[in-house]
Amino acid sequence: MIASLGMLRNLFIVVFFTYFCESALAVPNSSDRSSSRIKQVYFNLGTHTQFYNAIQNDGSGGLRKIEWKPVIGAGIGIPMTTNFIFLPEFNWVLPQTHEGSKIFSNLFMFRGDISHRPFGWLRLRLGTSLMWANQQGRGGSAQMNNGNGSSTFYYPDENKSSLNNTLDFGIEAMFEKFAFRLQTYTYSFFVKEQKQLSYSLFLTYYWKK
């Protein structure tokens, strides 16, 4: 039973990515053909919330719903079929410093979406990201409370990164050259215990539309 569920899951992944690739590689119709395949260039500015409702915010049990982590990014739009556009993009959650400058943290997102515009003002995105969470430790130590006394604890002194694949869904309201987007990222989609949702709110400027 477990094996068959695993097979079904793998089958699902194959179907899912076939759907993706089919959309991405389909031959554009004549109206889409032009000298340049890139039809759109855009720039993102927004805020990112990591692990919605899963990080404790204070000592009284409050969980984080939104946080201010500035993110900037850019992307391009490549028409694939009449209905679908492939939108690769890169976003960077600006570095945060921890405890002065003991640790620097960065989050880089290498993303790809297949998008569909059912209406002129609305765009839906389905995609995936490679999330690169980087930490640069600067070393050092600190004396901190420990039991009834205090002890020496140490700050990290290496550069380490976590890499995750996420499944993403986005919804974008478009107004002339600007758009407002809610972009979600699901970590560990297939593992219930670890599944976490992050999201970004973007204001996007379409330089070429």
Binding site: F51, D58, P70, P118, L124, M144, G147, P156, N165, Q194
Partner: protein
């Protein structure tokens, strides 16, 4: 636009930081680490049986440390191990504490993984209000190969008066030390040195710390990361997201797209 970018960089916040409990960033080499209770553990003063103590491990693991997708660490409860010599009455020694190590009543560390026990040796608990102590006390190079968590089982131990939720929080905190983390000044973090009013989840520092010590290396949407048994709150094996849920989500998405397309077409045809 330039002003906005400058504003964003300026507002990028400076927050607290996690620490490590040693100066060489030691962590378990294997990402799958077992947590067990010593088979001989007597917790008379704590007012718990070893079985009740063992029951606290699963929520301490599942509700906290195993929930971090950016970490490859997968803790699992393996009920009872041992008994280990002196673990209920002996002294817990740091690896560099030579006088302690040479004493006859020192606790012999487990060969691997993390072991929890009640203990009533006064010198292990500096002061009557200390709830528990932990030392990763077996190393191989820069890797931890064993850690001991001792619950204060002395007369009038404060651990006995804690609620079940707080006991779980204390054990989760001590597991944090066992896997290599130190304290933080952030009250929201589990690795804060005191119990807070309500402990529901890890803080950002905890998540960053465990991700630093056990970074995830491409998890393939969760399929590739961590091969350990996944245990749910009630201690039974948790099921992955059912297949039908995933298929239904995708189906729904496609159906919505198609419906919107139809709607658009019908609007266009009615207007012509």
């Amino acid at each position: 636009m330039q002003i906005l970018i400058i504003l964003l960089i300026t507002l990028s916040s400076n927050v607290q930081a996690y620490t490590l409990n040693n100066n060489f960033g030691a962590s378990f080499k294997d990402n799958e680490v077992s947590v067990s209770v010593d088979a001989s553990s007597s917790c008379a003063n704590v007012g718990m049986t070893p079985y009740e103590l063992e029951e606290l491990i699963v929520p301490a693991i599942v509700n906290f440390w195993n929930r971090v997708p950016t970490s490859s660490l997968r803790l699992k409860s393996t009920s009872f191990t041992g008994p280990y010599a002196n673990i209920t009455t002996g002294r817990l020694c740091a690896p560099t504490d030579t006088p302690c190590i040479t004493s006859g009543d020192r606790i012999i560390a487990p060969v691997n993984d993390i072991v929890i026990s009640c203990n009533d040796f006064a010198a292990n608990f500096e002061g009557p209000t200390v709830l528990a102590v932990t030392i990763p006390n077996k190393f191989s190079g820069k890797s931890i190969t064993g850690a001991v968590i001792l619950i204060n089982n002395r007369d009038q131990t404060p651990f006995a008066t804690l609620s079940k939720k707080d006991k779980i929080g204390v054990i989760a905190h001590e597991i944090g030390h066992a896997i290599g983390l130190g304290h933080t000044n952030d009250k929201a973090a589990l690795m804060y040195y005191r119990i807070v009013d309500q402990r529901k989840a890890l803080g950002e520092d905890d998540m960053m710390g465990v991700s630093y010590l056990y970074p995830m290396k491409l998890d393939g949407f969760g399929l590739l990361g961590g091969c350990g048994t996944i245990i749910s709150n009630d201690g039974t094996a948790a099921k992955d997201v059912p297949f039908w849920q995933m298929a239904a989500t995708l189906g729904l998405f496609i159906a919505i797209l198609e419906m919107l397309k139809l709607l658009k077409r019908s609007k266009t045809s009615s207007s012509t």
